[in-house]
């Protein structure tokens, strides 16, 4: 069985994590530091959607979120949580680039986002196993923390 925490897989995962972190940081910081907003008039069918996102302030919000998520991945802080949030952004990017406006360059961008995010979700997938239970009873967040702290004390 391939174990994600053994070499060379551990370092392949490290490369993926750092790559995705830098990918998000460069995109987010390009807006946060340089106020850079791409010219959406040349983005085909996606243009009006992205322009409206900017008008209502959602585009800047996503850019600041990209900086936070990229930093979380870079410093190995709550990576499973960051990857789940990133999956939402990835889905939007993939849908826009692969379905709405499938220019060859955008097809690559959308595919790359999916590959990076899904690979990392698999690599850290052990933490999501409990999400895959078919039938569950309510189990509050604080009960989970309490159970985890009891297990670590024994």
């Amino acid at each position: 069985m391939i174990k994600a925490d053994e070499s060379p897989w551990k370092y392949l995962v490290l490369w993926l994590r750092l790559y995705f972190a830098f990918h998000y940081l460069k995109s987010g910081l390009n807006y946060v530091i340089f106020d850079f907003i791409p010219d959406f008039s040349r983005s085909g069918a996606v243009g009006p959607y992205l322009a409206e996102m900017t008008n209502i302030g959602f585009y800047p919000l996503v850019k600041y979120l990209e900086v936070i998520l990229g930093a979380m991945l870079l410093f190995n802080f709550m990576v499973p949580l960051a990857l789940i949030v990133m999956a939402g952004i990835t889905f939007q990017i993939a849908y826009l680039n692969l379905v709405v406006s499938p220019h060859p360059r955008q097809k690559f961008t959308g595919t790359q986002e999916l590959l990076l995010n899904c690979s990392l979700l698999l690599a850290y997938g052990g933490y999501y196993v409990d999400f895959l239970r078919a039938k569950v009873k309510p189990y509050s967040l604080w009960e989970g923390f309490h159970k985890r702290s009891s297990l670590t004390k024994t």
């Binding site: 070499s7 060379p8 370092y11 392949l12 490290l14 790559y19 830098f22 390009n30 360059r105 690559f108």
Partner: protein
């Protein structure tokens, strides 16, 4: 548990990083129509470089 990092592992990581960086360079320049920017090739290349450095440091610590 001690994990052995062999030369093959360095080659694998370097190969993956280089190949993917070249793929990114190809698509980001739209096969030579657009200028090449560090914005595009930077993430996979620097991630590869840092990963190799981490592998080297970890290998030294285990010896």
């Amino acid at each position: 548990m001690k994990q052995v990092i062999s030369g093959r592992h360095y080659v694998l990581i370097a190969a993956v990083a280089i190949v993917w960086t070249l793929v990114v360079v190809g698509f980001s320049t739209s096969m030579g129509e657009r200028p090449l920017r560090m914005y595009d090739w930077g993430p996979p290349a620097f991630a590869g470089l840092i990963t190799l450095i981490v592998m080297f440091v970890n290998n030294r610590r285990q010896k």
